[in-house]
């Protein structure tokens, strides 16, 4: 399943117990972080038993069904995933907080949560006693600097922080103080800031959060930008589309960019590689990813094996990809198999931007709108159609000069678009 997927929901079984299945037969529909996909059998035989009921969320790696021969004895496997097996599962955001269920508590639950206990401090390096003390004193360990080995926060550090940050004095109260008896729950907290409603994270939002944080933390990005003269490419495109009329396929600006990227990737295959700790894994096929904005968030499916495609085939494939993204019928490998990505915000009328690399890929090209601009050509000012492209590159894989060479190749192909056809 997905590169960074940790759990999925079994939406629907497609095969009944007792039916024969072959390798590759769709047996169930699984909701991943991005879409509902068909899950194919990895074994041939009879579907002896379904281990997961419809609507159940299970961690990746959890057995879904037993496939075997009819006379086979079924081993005793528990149906429901036990919490121990679920070690990688994401904790579901609570649908209702316990605070909201307490009858006397009148405050919106989000305010109570934020003001009462510090956030979980698991990622901070602190000794057990420092954690305990911070909890008791309501100190956010993220604010405390550690002086122990490896910057571990010690008891002394928390004490020092506490001494230098005395708790805020109680809010001044006008007039007479109410006696404790009259201080009811409704009146008591008069000063907390007014937060709005908390929007729970969708699965896609969680996935985007996870992947982008991981990418920005682990992948050292650098960026190279260039302005590309699209005049020739735009005129070639309108001519091609005139000729293709009636064939049900149109070449978009993005298709030209994809085609140029594919050409550059063939010349500089490093940008089509995955970084591993022990080496750079070159991918044999070019699966070019296209960022597609959906209502819920962003997806990044890829046109598989796009290397040998003609411009027309590529245009057809990218259109098909977008259509199937819309209908939620993309194949899992199209989500996960991308080797290089492109992101185009031209339709939103932006001039340029930089994109975040999608691990384990090494680079992503971000392009803005095509617009008419005065340019200097042979010491003459001309009107040209230009766009600005910015490539984000994993510095572990390639250096600035190589990034520049790659981008210049994309630029060369687009400025001499006949290369895109031959």
């Amino acid at each position: 399943m997905g590169y960074d997927m940790r759990e999925g929901t079994l939406v629907r079984w497609l095969k009944a117990e007792g039916t024969e299945v072959d390798i590759g037969d769709p047996v169930a529909e699984i909701e991943t972080d991005k879409a509902v996909v068909e899950f194919e059998s990895v074994a041939a035989g009879v579907l002896l038993r379904r281990l997961v009921s419809e609507g159940t969320t299970v961690p990746v790696g959890h057995p879904l069904a037993i496939v075997g021969s009819l006379d086979e004895e079924i081993p005793d496997i528990e149906d429901a995933p036990s919490p121990q097996e679920n070690e990688f599962a994401i904790e579901e955001p609570p649908r209702t907080t316990s605070k909201a269920e307490e009858p006397v508590e009148e405050l919106p639950s989000t305010i109570a949560d934020d003001s009462e206990t510090p956030a979980p401090q698991t990622s901070v390096r602190a000794s057990p006693v420092a954690r305990k003390l911070a909890l008791e004193e309501n100190i956010d360990l993220n604010q405390v600097s550690g002086t122990g080995p490896g910057n571990r926060i010690t008891r002394g550090d928390v004490m020092a922080y506490k001494d230098s940050h005395p708790p805020a004095p109680p809010a001044p109260t006008a007039g007479t103080l109410p006696s404790p008896e009259t201080l009811s729950n409704e009146q008591a907290p008069s000063t907390p800031p007014k937060f709005g409603e908390k929007v729970l994270l969708s699965r896609m939002r969680q996935q985007i959060a996870r992947v982008t944080v991981k990418s920005k933390q682990e992948t050292p990005h650098f960026y190279v930008s260039s302005e590309i003269d699209m005049t020739a490419a735009m005129s070639l495109r309108s001519q091609i589309n005139k000729d293709l009329e009636g064939e049900g396929v149109r070449v978009t600006v993005n298709d030209l960019i994809l085609k140029a990227c594919i050409g550059a990737l063939k010349k500089y295959p490093k940008f089509n590689a995955y970084f591993d700790e022990d080496g750079i894994r070159m991918n044999e096929e070019i699966n070019i990813g296209i960022a597609i904005a959906e209502e819920e968030g962003l997806i990044l499916p890829a046109v598989m094996n796009s290397g040998p495609m003609s411009l027309k085939e590529l245009a057809r494939a990218s259109k098909d990809l977008a259509d199937r993204a819309q209908s939620g019928t993309l194949h899992p490998q199209e989500y996960t198999g991308g080797t290089f990505s492109t992101s185009n915000l031209g339709m939103f009328n932006v001039s340029s931007f930089a994109a975040i690399i999608h691990p384990p890929q090494s680079a992503v090209l971000a392009v803005g709108r095509v617009s008419k601009k005065p340019i200097v050509d042979n010491d003459e000012i001309k009107i040209a159609e230009t766009l600005t492209a910015t490539i984000s590159v994993d510095h572990r894989v390639a250096d600035g000069a190589e990034g520049a060479q790659f981008l210049v190749e994309v630029k060369r192909l687009l400025e001499h678009p006949s290369f895109l056809l031959i």
Binding site: S127, P128, V129, A130, R131, K132, T147, G148, P149, R152, T154, R155, G156
Partner: protein, 325 residues
């Protein structure tokens, strides 16, 4: 108060027992006419005679087996095994018989036996004569394991061992025989299973036993000049183990180092570390550290042997690296 050596303290305890109780007798290799390999029983043979001070053949299993039989018959034998290294030959008698008979007979039989032995390295005696196996014995229910670090403890603990109705292993460190200390002239005993705080401190607890108590005290002295206040807990008995004293100290200091002379891997220090984290996790201000012997058969060469032993410097380094103190 009288200042005596640890050797004299043990001798004194043995004489008292021989004088007071006719059922007490000593058995061991060369303890009689030769006065003992470490001269603890000097003069005993002439004073108490060959019936009560019995020289035995070189047969540790036979000696311990005979003592178990005597204990079953109502005697209170005190056996000397020349060094703990040779106790391996008596392992079956100690672990399968001495430790079990009381339980397997539903309390009908008791084994009031003390096995005295000499333990530890540091005297250039080579790989087979420089070991410490007390941690192994301490893992066996039914045995008690005692390791004094000074004359006062040696006498007070030996008295309790001899009056105990269970088999007890009493290990005297070869390098501690000549250390001196004050011992009260009046009668006193030290209960088994009670650790002793040998130095009070606020920042780090060092837990040790036998000779390592002195190494820990030396480290504590050096650290005090750096402004680090070290508490040293002397376990004195590995079984029963005084968990409460350990935990009380760690809760106070928040940091613990367990120092053990023998090999670090599989050592008794690991048992103590586990207990500390189980019982006082929320009080810890850093990892529970171990300083132990390096995992090699003890070298004969004096310099190499010194290099594998825990030293005050290694303890100080561990505290620096582990706690930044």
């Amino acid at each position: 108060m009288t200042e005596i050596t640890l050797r004299d303290a043990v001798s004194k305890g043995l004489r008292e027992a021989l004088d007071r109780d006719d059922s007490v007798f000593l058995m061991g290799e060369d303890i009689g006419a030769y006065a003992g390999a470490y001269v603890v029983t000097k003069g005993f043979f002439d004073e108490y005679g060959p019936e009560r001070i019995r020289d035995t053949p070189i047969s540790e299993s036979g000696v311990v087996g005979a003592a178990i039989g005597a204990a079953m018959g109502g005697m209170r034998p005190i056996v000397e095994i020349m060094t703990v290294n040779f106790m391996l030959l008596a392992m079956d008698q100690i672990v399968n018989h001495a430790a079990k008979l009381r339980y397997m007979s539903n309390g009908q039989i008791t084994i009031p036996m003390v096995i005295r032995t000499v333990t530890g390295g540091g005297a250039s005696l080579g790989a087979t004569h420089s070991q410490m196996f007390e941690g192994w014995f301490a893992s066996v229910p039914g045995l008690k394991v005692v390791l004094p670090s000074d004359p006062y403890d040696a006498l007070g603990l030996l008295r309790s061992c001899i009056s105990d109705n269970n088999p007890v292993i009493f290990s005297e460190h070869a390098l501690l025989y000549n250390i001196t200390g004050d011992v009260p002239d009046e009668e006193y005993t030290i209960p088994l299973g009670k650790a002793s705080v040998k130095r009070e401190g606020a920042d780090v607890t060092i837990i040790a036993y036998s000779r390592m108590v002195h190494v820990a005290l030396e480290a504590a002295g050096a650290l005090s000049t750096k402004g680090v206040s070290v508490e040293v807990v002397d376990l004195r008995t590995l079984r029963p183990l005084d968990v409460d004293t350990i935990i009380e100290s760690v809760k106070k200091t928040g940091r613990a180092v367990v120092v053990e002379e023998t090999w670090k891997t599989g050592g008794f220090a690991g048992e103590i570390v586990s207990t500390i984290q189980e019982r006082s996790f929320d009080y810890l201000d850093g990892p529970v550290l171990r300083v132990g012997g390096i995992d090699v058969p003890t070298p004969y060469s004096e310099d190499l042997e010194a290099a594998v032993m825990p030293t005050p410097e290694r303890i100080i380094d561990a505290i620096d690296n582990g706690f930044g103190l």
